[in-house]
Assembly symmetry: C2
Homo-oligomer: 253 residues x 2
Amino acid sequence: MTYCIVVSVKEGLVLTSDSRTNAGIDNVSIHRKMHALPTHTNRTIVLLSAGNLATTQAVVDQLARDMKENAAVNLNTVASLAEAAEYLGQISVCKQNRHTNANAGQNGFFPAATFILAGQIAPAAHGAYLIYPEGNFITTSSHTPYLQIGEIKYGKPVLDRFLKVDTSLHEAGRCCLISMDSTMRSNVSVGAPVDLLIYRKDSYHLQEYYCFQEDDDYLLQLRRLWHEKLKESFAALPHIGNNEMHTLPYYQD
Amino acid sequence: MTYCIVVSVKEGLVLTSDSRTNAGIDNVSIHRKMHALPTHTNRTIVLLSAGNLATTQAVVDQLARDMKENAAVNLNTVASLAEAAEYLGQISVCKQNRHTNANAGQNGFFPAATFILAGQIAPAAHGAYLIYPEGNFITTSSHTPYLQIGEIKYGKPVLDRFLKVDTSLHEAGRCCLISMDSTMRSNVSVGAPVDLLIYRKDSYHLQEYYCFQEDDDYLLQLRRLWHEKLKESFAALPHIGNNEMHTLPYYQD
């Protein structure tokens, strides 16, 4: 399984991903799911991936190769992030179809992969797109300034509580780490190292990147403090008033 | 959709359920998912249900009818909660199969339903069983003293954090309400009124029951306070140290 988040706020972008992959519960490995593409200097593009590992690797490799070989359309020629998302979607569908057809009739083979493409292409603003396995895509909004892929539910409530478009980059980063922590607690197939990338708008540099191992001091501190604070908060909650108590009626057949 | 939780702690049981049902997003209704069965006085049995509404109503009705008609096996004759779970599982499978066969080949018809059966049959201890649509079932353990059905993921982290077998009944009740609140925020198909039943072991009475409407003062107070406390906790989290910062390497093709 996988869990990746991208937050797009006024100050820039925050990307977070886990690194655990599994081909069956008895085949667990570590693969980075955050891929920085070597584009020209007037553009920055980073991908996050979830789903079939062969598909994601094939797609990232094709994107890099298209740039290197100066293909008619590649990440250096697309005029916008939306165009980049469309181009990525076409490559993804193509890579999935190739192997679906070869294995027609085989059960249990799922080549589907989902991506988030985030970055900035000058002179436009930064942004992020989630590309579905079918190749279609969505972006963030001022009401929902984040996108998630993979095991998204456990860690969603904390994002909904704290993320706004004017949240600072570092606040958003801590929020994503808390969301990642809740997810790792509930689903063992999501695991460290945790990659965190903070992109300041108009910088076109990926210089603020953190890779937290499972026993990283900061991550452990964050986890312990959050847990303690939640415990205190929980202990301070008001008790239910007796005036609201009733007797549960029995089922009437 | 639905969200129901049962917690089985040393002091007794805590049952929580929402009341929103939907047959498609354009057909949303309110149905209580907590069903108290009118058993003899030496036993208490309460059901929570998720899934197809016709199936859950048919099952609950059959259980009540079997008792009324003194069927060979009914909730008054079963010797244990596990036996009650097995009996319920058989009825559930039977009700599902009836309509699956009649509609063979129809797409989009899912008669599946999942139940939690909780209560106490004297002289044994109280307990809870989750019965899958296939009729098989599981119970709680000292490590995981709760069961969930329906939309379980959003509200699971808070249960994992706070519920232990020696958690008090009222603490467990507040924990379930917080879990329900997180779920209602993230999935609009889970909604009020919220039913909360606290069963003190060996009491064989359902006298501590609360039905919270959407605008209930206590529920609003709990929600507001929890949100404020979480915000304070979040603001107090430590900042990431600069010493852990790196540059994200570009993809090498």
